[in-house]
Amino acid sequence: MQTNRRDFIKLAAAAAAMGMSTASLPGFARASKPPIGRVVIVGGGYAGATAAKYLRLWSLGAIEVIVIEPNRQFVSCPLSNLVLGGSKTIDDLTFGYQMLQSNHGIRWVHDQVTAIDVDAKKIRMQRGELVYDRLVIAPGVDFIYDTLPMLQSAEAQQQVPHAWKAGWQTVNLRKQLEAMPDGGVFVMNVPAAPYRCPPGPYERASQVAYYLKSHKPKSKVIVLDANAEIISKKGLFTKVFNEMYAGLVDYRPNNTLVDVDVAGKTVKTEFDAVRADVLNIIPPQRAGKPAQMAQLNNIDKRWCEVDFLTYESKLAPGIHVIGDAVAAALPKSAHMATNQAKICANAIVQLMAGAEPDQAPVFANTCYSYVSDKSAMHVANVYRYDPVKKIMVSAEGGGVSAAPSEQEGSFAAAWASNIWSDTLT
């Protein structure tokens, strides 16, 4: 609702006059000048930026919101595979935070979190400290190099990019592809699930194949998947690999990486050694570092267990975790991250006003994968809270496209421009 604070007070008074809530005036109306509390958000990705906006919107400005984010710009992971395919540039996917900040009165701290003192409700950064009433941690993912120590250094990641956080890594991988001779071999892996963006690696293989098909048709894409099969949009991607990119994509399931020779661009699986001209390794992942600092990644030492009504950590009251870092049987997608952010913001607004959060949250996830410059396909589902299992479960009717199409490509473009606008303005 487009209400300002004065409208909200009038609305509350009107409601009270009609006998709806005569017990007390709303907390927000009462404490209209000083904020009713401070929420600090760590991370300005899809989840963190969305939580900041909706906390301000739904509290009618009564909650002070401060975002801590080390990067000056937002770079979208969704659509970043199209940079590899050549139909987008990284600059098409890069945006500032200024509109979000000024439209909603969000305070922004450009800094890096170094420690979180859960008992004192205090965050330490490289250049200062902040206290909070509630903390939202939206840290994204952190790469695990335990089994791939040779890829830990920045130099190694220059030679063998992950390109799984969009930015210069994506640009680097695209440049390597451009420099690859016709007849070259592009080798990439898929880590064991769960990881950020389940269909992403298969979309990447399709985008690289799209580029090679028209520019370097003698080349090949080898996909080494640690999983037993394609884990998202399986039928669709199988068809894309076998028909649209027949002879270009060599998909190998059950291929876990055991060693990487960075200088020699060679990977070893349990079965054989594969030499690449361009090598792209997507490491296994866990909740981002700020969640680890607060010791919230209790599930498999990787992901954070939360209450799905509030996204409050099961380990630390007053600290909420949203986005890819959450342990959930839900796809780690951008749309899902924004959904979690909204449910979390809604719950925090209620909790800080002394009211009960929504006990039956429902949200939708739509995820498109582009298989060429114009054609895309979806997986879409509604999820609703199951009060017995206390998790979000798929509702009836979810599913995937019959086939990729240009019409869905235009819907995917609409998805991107709308979710960017929703998150960043």
Partner: protein, 125 residues
Amino acid sequence: MKKTIITIAIIGLFSPIIVCAADSGLPVSDVHIRSLAASCAACHGTQGNAVPAAKTAALAGLDKQDISTKLLAFKSGERSATVMHRHAKGLTTDEITALAEYFSLQAPHVAAPLTPQRLRADHAN
């Protein structure tokens, strides 16, 4: 704004299941529906104001009967869709009615354009 007050008054008068959340002044249904409606923003824009060039419908200010008729037709399969049937089938009839009402009450406006930027050299990844 008047519309909002009237709507809340009407909901308050006619719906026995909707009660006020203890202190926030908003009916529980509004708290439930506003986050569900916000989930639609990924394709339909914040509060139903889709980005102008997008090939998805702007829902803000549309007739509530039109919205619910379409969603119910997607749900039953009577109307074919590319994606929307997946969402409509997952919603209850009550949620469809409440979403239609919610979007019909949003003020339509042109979503501000977001301009892409050149990636800075100091970006972390």
